[in-house]
Symmetry: C2
């Protein structure tokens, strides 16, 4: 019997979540087992609120838009930060909607929390004899998911950060005065993205000169010494720090600035980089800038990694194929089979192995001093940023797809 499919996106944006969505839709449109493809607006919240669109109608009449979707950052369907309570009433509400839409395939793109949703829903369906296959598609710029060689979204953010370091290095190299630039990368507890800045170091470019990950306790004293030492050798020193570096007591460095008196009502600093800037300014005394690319690093579709885009797309297809074949409680994943040439194979794994777990950087991939990464890390990272995307441009700007521009109302389900 033909059943319909529903798909949603959840968590924080990346440059390639829509690539996975495009891969899932493309596979679904061609499947003989799958009827209509629905999209939840704002993830599971959209499901609960019956905020659902018909993606089959949307993309069957606009097939070229599927390629634009593949190359558009953020989340076409919108996101949510909704963690299932696990209560019976909530499950009943969800499966009532699933039944109303005759859903047989439930696909969810997201990170750790979303994989928890996949786990809970698949367990509930199984335990209650409901014939719905629930499959996850992984994503996160943080690269902290277990059960996968690297997370879709990470390669593009990595390419963005490495490009920033290179462009900042060119920018600062023009003067013959001493300067320090501190770039703060995302990744609260896992330092993968910070580590990826090392890729800028090709063609004898020494930047970044120092790299600090949250996996190693951070000492402000040691940091000052490290910077001073590098300034002896280089005019312009570029430092990349994770937003989540902590001191030996586990306290975030970014929290250090919060102890000040704010009775004057002036704002407190929020960034780790901004705090370290003040340290260098006050105690080393050269020109210092702190740069926080913030959300730009996760939504820069115009400089996404083609490798990342294609893998995300494939993981979307693989997930729908798995559901179609009857798998449930799994997520699509990839395994690196070779580094030279870089090859991966696609498969599925039990979602229970990834939900609510976190993969941090192994200590042996960080140098002994804790201010750089090792060659193993470089070898691991290098292939992930390869390939140049052909971002569609119009009137000089990236021409991304936007659900608000398609006639969504027409596609809304009504019974």
């Amino acid at each position: 019997m033909i059943k319909n499919m529903i798909i949603g996106q959840s968590g924080g944006p990346t440059a390639v979540i829509n690539s996975s969505l495009a891969g899932a839709i493309e596979y679904g449109l061609q499947s003989e087992k799958i009827g209509k493809i629905y999209g939840m607006l704002n993830g599971i919240e959209g499901l609960l609120d019956n905020n659902i669109v018909n993606l089959t109608e949307m993309f069957r009449s606009l097939p070229h838009e599927l390629n634009r979707l593949k190359h558009s950052p953020a989340m076409f369907l919108g996101s949510c930060r909704y963690k299932l309570s696990g209560e019976e009433e909530e499950f009943k509400k969800i499966f009532k909607v699933i039944d109303a839409y005759n859903i047989g395939y439930f696909i969810y793109i997201g990170g750790n929390d979303s994989m928890d949703t996949v786990l809970k829903l698949s367990d509930y369906a199984r335990e209650n004899g409901i014939d719905v296959k629930v499959v996850g598609i992984p994503k996160t710029i943080d690269n902290d998911l277990v059960g996968i060689d690297h997370s879709p979204g990470f390669g593009s953010a990595a390419k963005y950060i490495a490009t920033c370091v290179r462009e900042v290095a060119y920018d600062t190299s023009i003067y013959s005065i001493k300067s320090v630039h501190i770039i703060e990368a995302m990744g609260r507890d896992a330092g993968w993205l910070t580590a990826a800045s090392v890729l800028a170091r090709q063609d004898n470019m020494p930047a970044p000169h120092l790299i600090y990950l949250p996996e190693v306790p951070f000492s402000v004293e040691q940091f000052k010494e490290d910077v001073k030492k590098k300034l002896e050798e280089y005019n312009s020193v570029i430092v990349v720090v994770s937003e989540g570096i902590k001191d030996k007591n586990g306290k975030y460095i970014s929290a250090k600035q919060d102890k000040g008196d704010d009775r004057f009502g002036h704002a407190r600093l929020s960034g780790t980089g901004a705090y370290l800037k003040s340290v260098i300014e006050n105690e080393v005394g050269c020109k210092v800038r702190a740069l926080e690319p913030s959300v730009l690093q996760r939504s820069a579709g115009h400089i996404a990694s083609l490798c990342d885009v294609n893998e995300a797309f494939n993981l979307g297809s693989v997930a729908v194929r798995a559901a179609e074949e009857g798998q449930t409680g799994v997520f699509s994943t990839l395994r690196r089979t070779s580094n030279k040439p870089y090859c991966v194979e696609y498969l599925t794994e039990n979602v229970a192995t990834v939900a609510n777990m976190e993969k941090t950087v192994p200590r042996e991939w960080i140098n002994e001093e804790g201010n750089d990464v090792t060659q193993e890390m470089v070898t691991y990272l290098r292939p992930l940023i390869r390939g140049v995307v052909q971002t569609p441009f119009r009137s000089g700007l990236p021409d991304y797809i936007d659900i608000r521009h398609l006639d969504v109302k027409k596609q809304r389900y009504s019974d």
Copy 2:
């Protein structure tokens, strides 16, 4: 008689100063009147220190590198912030080096201060009967030069800022909660770059919702009201402010936060955006982020405007041709002859008309409320960001040229 040419770069970086350098070198290599082409390292400072390279040897043996130079940001030859004292001794020192290298053509790429250098040197040469033609090539991301329709470097920075706004807008659109993003653009006294954020507003995208230029006095109270009003209509409000906005007494808004007590040694905020973030957090109370693209906006060669790259290249050629033809004390410039289709013509103008002057945004191109720009501004800006550059990539990263990788020592002049 064949004379040599020398060229230098000065001031802050842009994405296309090297395009102008490439245009000047290409023209110079083909000229029958021009002998060797020398480059000053770090501008006029390099000239004074005899820190000079032979660009003819460098690029004649590596012709394909000239195209790479055209597409590399920042400054191949390095920069300086050196203002001529105007003293006789300094002039004598400069012209002694010029004589030693048999220079007949002196080309200088830069902003206001550099045009002052061109003016002083050309005046001195003329008054002292020295046969050296001194010609400037304009550049600045700020677009505040007079005597030119728009400055090379501005279009690329404008494209970067507009792209940022679009990508941030996609990033923030995914949640259905209220949020404010404040993007701080460069341009201390001229709001052109901030204004260029308006270009993001194509395809019914409402972002940026508010735009504040330094040309209009900024009221924090009015700002809060503006933001509140926009939040009634939109979930996600994106504001672009110039780093140089000032209150009605002419005091920089960014200076407001400096009044606090810093006896605890914690750092002070430096950014206008960061200050306004605290205002909204404290008094409107929704999620707020401040983004400061900082130097990334001026050195992002990977998303430069092709229109800008080509115009900068042509202005380089035009300047050398003018010098070759015997003009001095001029700079190469462009005039817009048509908007639809967009056309420019190249010419030269007396450098005395631009040196030390500043072109700010006319009040009538800003809306009455002072929180947006008018359609005239959009019409002026639109063509300047057009065209996609084919940035050379290698191993996944932009493959920019770097003088440190060429064998510079060999090219050094020695007598």
